[in-house]
Amino acid sequence: MSQDLYQAPDYFLMDELLTEEHKLIRGAAREWVKREVSPIIEDACQKAEFPKQIIKGLGEIGGFGPYIPVEYGGAGLDQISYGLIMQELERGDSGIRSTSSVQSSLVMYPIWKYGSEEQKMKFLPKLATGEFIGCFGLTEPDQGSNPGGMVTNIKDMGDHYLLNGAKMWISNAPFADVAVVWAKNEKGRIKGVLVERGMEGFTTPETHGKWSLRASATGELVFDNVKIPKDNILPNKDGLGAPLGCLDSARYGIAWGTIGTAMDCYDTALRYAKERIQFGKPIASFQLQQKKLAEMITEITKAQFLTWRLGVLRNEGRATSAQISMCKRNNVDMALNIAREARQILGAMGITGEYSIMRHMMNLESVITYEGTHDIHLLITGMDITGENAFK
């Protein structure tokens, strides 16, 4: 990939709404992405390899559970800081952001919110540094948008549980040290189970041949009579609301993250349009290209403010799941459209790995599907405003 010349747009001076510390945190993440991610990411994606060497640095810049309290190894930051870190990581690559948001929102968050004190002390500090990598198993081969229909189950055997079933499409699965797995007990109640690598009967085959999120490893979790110590059940919350609480946090991160990809695509396309000469003029001087670029910055600006407001509401504990759905849906769609338009502005150059756009575009095809599909989020808004459930 050519040199990373990224400059973040801030058309409506949103920076003035951020604190000095927010900007310091964002600046550190931005510098880190330029130094550690941009030079290697194209190659990692071409080879479909997760770049393991970045894990330590990712932990150091706050990529793992920045809002987790200090006593558990986190940084105790607010939700806007978390969002800004996600924005910068996804500016680099959605796969890197995925690794980070799975670890933060889908692994550390449930252990922090639903776990026992011993579970928190055992796992959170190591997850915060990246010494442990975690994954989150909700989706199953036959249960995607409808996780409540899951068949993975635990049976009480007196001094332990037996876990059986399989999860699919699980980010970080192939090398995770710990998996937060959602399974039904005999009464059909969904429980959070901490499954550790090395437990007998637990395997994590990798999913190959993806055209999207190639720098993030995806795999299955297979449980064949896995003995689970009773201490490995998350005690403080159960039911579908438990995994959904994690998804709220992850979707919030995605809402910020995809602004990062949109900004990167816009920035690249704007620079290219000013430099590329056709018919004796920069293509930026043609109305059709200006329309694309002007619409991009308009959409980015709208998304920034929607998301900033969501961050303020989350800091105050007032953001609803439906608001998060709206924001995730809007922003992923916005970023995907911008990636597609930006790719066209670059003409043939847009399809090469010289530029990040095509990689972002392919990544976003996963992002628009995982953590609730584009359709499902619309139905959540629909249900919220009408009171009618249209997806069941």
Binding site: Q7, K23, L24, G27, E60, A75
Partner: protein
């Protein structure tokens, strides 16, 4: 060892520079400020010296409240405390004099400035501080080893380098080579959190003396479009070089 690093807050190198008020004032709107790159090499070297031999690293700047984010970043990178002399510097002498007045009261074994700041480029502050404090000064310093009270230094000179020695206290004007670009540090989360509680002291300037004052700034003329000369038309190329570009 007691180290003071002089930090200048400068526009990011990718900034588009403009002037207002008839070219007399720098237009800071929309500009991102960063630690002067030469100072960042110095700060990193200071951190490494401290990690090796112990001691204390202070960062100092002359500037208004707008430069505080840059000082906070220096604290997040690892400096122990920061001092801001609350004034808009008017020339190199003003800056050097204010820093020297502070250092007289609060001495240091090693004072690291940058070889120049990348905004006004006068490259004079380090030398002036040394002169006012009557200390040795090595500019364009790209190598520094300290052993007890003596320092071995390297300095860039035209086409080569000079090896020097000096005793502490000492002032240097640092640059790349003191440390490499890959040594530069990105503040990590722990550093950012610790920076919250580190002192950033604001002191008022002692004088308003300056020795020069700038009248106005001019940007270089815009580059004109590239002219292509057909193959076989070398005579035209020579004519253009002679008559238009006036380079031969």
């Amino acid at each position: 060892m007691n180290i003071v690093v002089c930090i200048s807050s400068v526009p990011d190198t990718t900034s588009k520079i403009n002037f207002t008020e008839n070219g007399s004032k720098f237009d800071s709107s929309g500009i991102q400020f960063v630690i002067n790159p030469y100072d960042e090499f110095g700060l990193t070297k200071a951190m490494m010296l401290k990690e090796k031999a112990g001691g204390n690293v202070r960062v100092i700047t002359v500037g208004d409240a707008l430069v505080e984010p840059v000082m906070r970043k220096a604290l997040a990178i690892g400096a122990d405390s920061a001092i801001r002399i609350n004034a808009n510097p008017t020339d190199s002498y003003f800056t050097a004099n204010e820093i020297a007045i502070y250092l007289k009261e609060n001495p240091a074994d090693l004072i690291i400035a940058g070889r120049e700041s990348i905004d006004y480029n006068s490259g004079a502050v380090g030398g002036m501080i040394a002169e006012i404090l009557n200390l040795p000064f090595v500019n364009a310093c790209n190598g520094l080893e300290i052993d007890g009270n003596s320092a071995k230094l390297c300095r860039e000179i035209e086409g080569g380098k000079e090896n020097l020695s000096a005793s502490l206290p000492l002032v240097i004007g640092g640059q790349k080579g003191l440390v490499e670009e890959s040594d530069l540090r990105i503040p990590n989360m722990r550093g950012i959190m610790q920076a919250r509680s580190k002192p950033l002291m604001v002191i008022e300037p002692s004088s308003d003396e300056n020795l020069t004052s700038s009248e106005s700034f001019e940007k270089p003329a815009e580059k004109s479009a590239c002219k292509l000369v057909e193959i076989g038309n070398e005579a035209e190329l020579v004519r253009l070089l002679q008559e238009e570009a006036k380079v031969i």
